[in-house]
Symmetry: C3
Subunit: 304 residues, 3 copies
Amino acid sequence: MRHLISPLDFTVEELDQLLETASDIEKNPAKYQDACKGKKIATLFYEPSTRTRLSFEAAMINLGGQVLGFSEASSSSASKGESVADTIRIISCYADICAMRHPKEGAALVAANNSSIPVINAGDGGHQHPTQTLTDLMTIKSLKGRLDNITIGLCGDLKFGRTVHSLINALLRYDNVKFVLISPNELKVPEYIIENIEKAGAEYKEVTKLEDVISELDILYMTRVQRERFFNEEDYIRLKDSFILDKKKMSMAKDDMLVLHPLPRVNEISVEVDKDPRAVYFKQVQYGVYVRMALILKLLEVEV
Amino acid sequence: MRHLISPLDFTVEELDQLLETASDIEKNPAKYQDACKGKKIATLFYEPSTRTRLSFEAAMINLGGQVLGFSEASSSSASKGESVADTIRIISCYADICAMRHPKEGAALVAANNSSIPVINAGDGGHQHPTQTLTDLMTIKSLKGRLDNITIGLCGDLKFGRTVHSLINALLRYDNVKFVLISPNELKVPEYIIENIEKAGAEYKEVTKLEDVISELDILYMTRVQRERFFNEEDYIRLKDSFILDKKKMSMAKDDMLVLHPLPRVNEISVEVDKDPRAVYFKQVQYGVYVRMALILKLLEVEV
Amino acid sequence: MRHLISPLDFTVEELDQLLETASDIEKNPAKYQDACKGKKIATLFYEPSTRTRLSFEAAMINLGGQVLGFSEASSSSASKGESVADTIRIISCYADICAMRHPKEGAALVAANNSSIPVINAGDGGHQHPTQTLTDLMTIKSLKGRLDNITIGLCGDLKFGRTVHSLINALLRYDNVKFVLISPNELKVPEYIIENIEKAGAEYKEVTKLEDVISELDILYMTRVQRERFFNEEDYIRLKDSFILDKKKMSMAKDDMLVLHPLPRVNEISVEVDKDPRAVYFKQVQYGVYVRMALILKLLEVEV
């Protein structure tokens, strides 16, 4: 039995197949509409995340399956002191597969180790969120046609943003990916990620101003810069504009640059950008459903 | 693409058709049981409302469709600062239609303006709650046989009760509807509603005692009088009995007067009235399901 | 129309049939997968209980039916002052059967008295939790082959544990069941339960140390001993080890003794016991789904 705990759990080949399935689902949804008839996914969300939870639920329903679960810890047995290991053993009696979000790092792994059904990590604290990475990869692959030979800018909070770390690690497995790391000094990518990049022999640079580099990018991956991450208010006010994407900055970008964002977005992308055809962060949500459908099929070993 | 944001979004003709479909659903539920197979409704409830939410969910399930959503803001991305506009764009990737309840006036309209799926306003603050109005109209039409030529009493809090305002506006489109407005002076119908009535040339009167007028009514629409609406406790105690429906008051009413209530009911209708065949507020709940089924079919443009 | 409010609502014969159906479901799940197509269960949980709620939901989905409901009071109309009687009348318009958990004793009975659909009590305060008792009985019957001629130890908090009281009362209807009641003096079985045992002429003894009696048992039913039940911390520390099941105590037990627990478990069974084949508390969860499936079929009068 397979689980998905880390974005690197699948080989590049497995990933290719998964994205191919997802792409076929996009083209022929009707073919898959009864693929999981009689199957149930349990969505175990110990902290709320509407977008991720509903994406899994939509994915399972699109496959003809059903959903049960909870959307916050207070309505779970966790509030009575039950361990994750016990909960997953119980859930194994109720469902065929499970997606778990938990505030504690490693919770999904503990679940997988005690589960008799496949476990999908839907986010464990600041650690991993592999289906977001799958979504990001599918978006790039679908709209750019490739995962290699790209220059990708990652902008915003690169220190705490788990989606950024996972995406970098995932893209390092492809040839000739150049990383442009755009963040305030306080929120630079952690040292171990830089080491990963260097070990893989990939090109990268670190800058502090989006406008200086936006013209070089094939992909711009935006993330939120939270005010509370800064040491002082002055720095925040001085710096924040460099990490807000607006029409003016978009005018400096390539005609086919794609803008991605893991969402939710607060103000780091002006709404005026939403109508730009290069802004694909809402399409990305749609790809997230397809790739989760493909993932459920793979982990349940359903052939269509 | 159509939405339902205000009770007057549909023409009288469209409304007639909708109520006809609802009535056919009541008679032939089996005919509709797979009408929305493979379709999903998202119930986005930024504030809790069990009755309304479950009514939509029951409606969609009765049509063979599926449900996803959330039942309070805390388990939604709103708590992370996401705008309604962004949320609906995301939900558009997950579902085929959506019912939204939000504490802020106009939220559903914002959603509709940014949505690629039909949006049903399931209540936006004190503003609108159109499916309650559809429910009220269907109850009257089904049990009275007509929406014109009736004398309707509206009793209780007529100042803040959005269902009352909507129902008055909706009934003004029919011939010869007389309004008897029964409330304490503090909670009279707002001036702009009176203007609507006068503009439409409909008859009305305002009174402060239910017992004085109950014998004239074909329909009695009860609403809650909340203690906290009164300027002082004395007034509340002095007045409240005039707005509580009991057996004694029912004995003064016509044999075929119908009692409606949007529910939840607290104490404004004594439980002793529940068994009176003229008390149709629980039947009204059932009509609410039928009319929501008809509405979903209409907005999804499903032909049965 | 039948409801299930108390574990003794069914006769021994009815119970036998129910367990037989549950056992057939275990063996031939496919036979039942469309039995409740088009039917809906409402799960009305005024207090959270993931395990119980999801068990009902899994049961209904396994039967081809659908689910709607709420998982805590805050997202229900109860917060607006609606009575249980009104809520169930409304829910009767939405669903075909309902499972209700409520913090107040007697709430499920009130619901049943006002309902036009079958009501299952999923726990009403410290009072009753009949589907847990059905689950316990099915586990014993399935794994032990009988409900009579057994010696059962009940260990832990026997004073407040409603599952213990219900199980004793249920087993008193079978021949030659011996009860070994293992608890600190502060948490002994209430007098009225002892009276029930004596009236039925069953054998029993009360002891304070699990290790003294474990070798005699066919069944050990563990429950949680909550620290806050003790008069003082000293007593708790002195006593608690006698009520924790570990490998060492298991080594004194019969080779075919079964360990049951209503779950959630906190620390009263060491995790080292989980792998012992005699530890059947997670299997018990699976039986809980089967027996709830059988119950839904019975109350909905569905023949398969």
